[in-house]
């Protein structure tokens, strides 16, 4: 099963290496990871998606917590939460196929953010399944390049993942 962990860390040099190194040396797999600032200066938030049983993910969380620069680890998969990922797709777009592509993009509530004589860049945000679905529809036009941010997530409702 996939688990999404929210990891609050001190924004210090090498902290990403410490986290990534821990995963590789303990034999855990990172599916994806997204890092950014939080509302508190000096604290960053990593959202890490891990594949594994509950026992393995519990061990991952405990090992992460042992790192001195890690302040808080919480498993967002065990509570109701909202999750999003952003994907940019560069797709072949001859003048004749543009309107077809446009229609697909609208259905998925995406955006066309760049157009050239024979290509388009599309921005889509959502869950895994949604991103996979649009990818599948665009394959026939010829996908040139894809980039994804990795998942980010927040708990539903007023509750927050705090530093302490």
């Amino acid at each position: 099963m996939k688990h999404v962990l929210a990891v609050l860390v001190e924004n210090k040099p090498g902290v990403l290496t410490r986290v990534a190194g821990l995963f590789s040396r303990r034999g855990f797999n990172i599916e994806n990871i997204a890092v950014g600032e939080t509302v508190t200066p000096g604290i960053s938030r990593m959202t890490i998606t891990v594949e594994g049983s509950d026992t393995i993910v519990e061990q991952v969380a405990k090992q992460l917590h042992k790192l001195v620069n890690v302040i808080r680890v919480s498993n967002l998969s065990s509570e109701p939460s909202v999750m999003r990922e952003l994907m940019l797709i560069k797709v072949n777009a001859e003048p004749g196929s543009r309107s077809d592509i446009q229609q697909i993009v609208e259905t998925f509530r995406g955006k066309v953010i760049d157009v050239s004589p024979d290509s388009m860049v599309i921005e889509v945000t959502g869950h895994d399944e949604k991103l996979e679905a649009i990818k599948l529809l665009l394959v026939d036009f010829g996908i040139r390049e894809i980039v994804r941010t990795g998942k980010v997530a927040l708990l539903r409702g007023p509750k927050v993942t705090r530093e302490s």
Partner: protein, 564 residues
Amino acid sequence: MKKKAARGSAMIMSALEKEGVEIIFGFPGGAVLPLYNQLYDASIKHILVRHEQAAVHAADGYARVTGKPGVVFATSGPGATNLVTGIANAYMDSVPLVLITGQVASRAIGTDAFQEADITGITLPITKHNYLVKQVEDLPGILSEAFYIASTGRRGPVLIDVPKDVFDQEAPFHYDRNCDIAGYKPTYEGHAGQISRAVKAIRDARQPVFFGGGGLIRSGASQVLGEFAEEAQIPVILTLMGLGAYPGDGRLFLGMPGMHGSVTANYALSEADLIIAAGVRFDDRVTGKLESFASSARIIHIDIDPAEIGKNVQIDIPIVGDVKLVLEALKKKLRPGHTSKWWKKITAWQNRHPLPGWANSPEGSLKPQFVIKELSRLCEEERIVATDVGQHQMWAAQHFVVREPNTFITSGGLGTMGYGFPAAVGAKLAAPDKRVVCISGDGGFQMNIQELATAVYNQIDIIIAVINNGYLGMVRQWQDIFFDKRYACTALKCNPDFVRVAEAYGAKGLRAETEKEATGAIEKALAEKGPVLIDFVVEPEENVYPMVAPNQPINEIIVGGDQK
């Protein structure tokens, strides 16, 4: 309060003084020179080793005896990389160390400068935490954090890498030992609800065992363990790292578990209905095949490191906390145990399989086990034994009677050959009034043989017992049992004359080839001052028994020795 300005190197020396550091183990070099220049005027003693690895092992031995962090200085590049094995060793056995390495100057970092190595990167997986000091303003905070992290919670090594120019830069200096680190808050008190559940489980148990490890030693839990075991009439089993937490000749002691543990300890763990595991990490050398380990027991696991709980073995009642505090809490609620039926069973095992003996030696030859027993018999009560790694280590664990905590100094987790001798030097410096014996092998001793110079120069009173069988004995034993006696590369065919090596360094050297000579040599060595090496030339192909083959159930034990 107005903060006075100080240079980086002065900040370090001042911090060490405030932390009560008495001895630094180290080796100078280019990048760390400004710090050594500061040391020149300081009151703290410095022990100059002959290889940086020995500095870490000696600081490690010192830390295990005193419970205080051992301190190491080394230079950048090769100086720092030579520390690596020692750091990994301390990390595996949770030994508090603070290591300060010089680094190339800030502006040269990342340019592959002369003697540059990314030591914070290299030691990332083997330190509890590490720091590269970017600016001198950060140094006071880093120093106090390093000592705090190394010596609290689950102990461990912390490394501080200091660029050469940072030693010379000035900044306001105020040293505050109180630090508050957002991501580091060890739990000491056990959860009250879990303690109640544990008490009930102990009350309900018919066949309980206490199974303790290095955590007992680090937390100073020996006394409470003794009272706890006595009250509950629970048999005590200690891992290699736990030896000394309960007297080795104590009434309730069953010995060591696992690969070379006692038959009784392994049977008791296998048939127990409750295991109280305290400060242990269920290492594969202890559990054997995990699926069949303690299959009929409920397990209470007390540990200060939450990540140890459930790592290898499923736990029924986890208690995160300091082992000593948790045992004290448990003891308060304990009632006298009714375990006499269980003890009958245990006594029967003990009678059938007494602690391993060995076959009678052929005419004249010397058995390694005899040497260990004689050392144990003849050395004073106030004593510390430091071992290297291999057969002699297991024989020492079996036959050298360890009665006090912090007196059995050995490399448990990493199994580092070369550890024993420098660790013994550190141990003697930590406890000048105790008899210190280093039990080593002819293989391991040669891995840090150069420290004879350190021991002689500092007039360290230690007995170095080299159990010389002319082989890398433990590896040979595995080749004997699992590789059809194909002794590939395990015979040490060109061993030096250890007596003459000792003499060349200015130490005393003795040799013993028979039981009588062995006893005589030990008695003679005990009367000497300074380091004395005894070359015990022993039976070359003696094996360590009992033995559980790797990844086998621990009750499937090869008894061996004279009980074949």
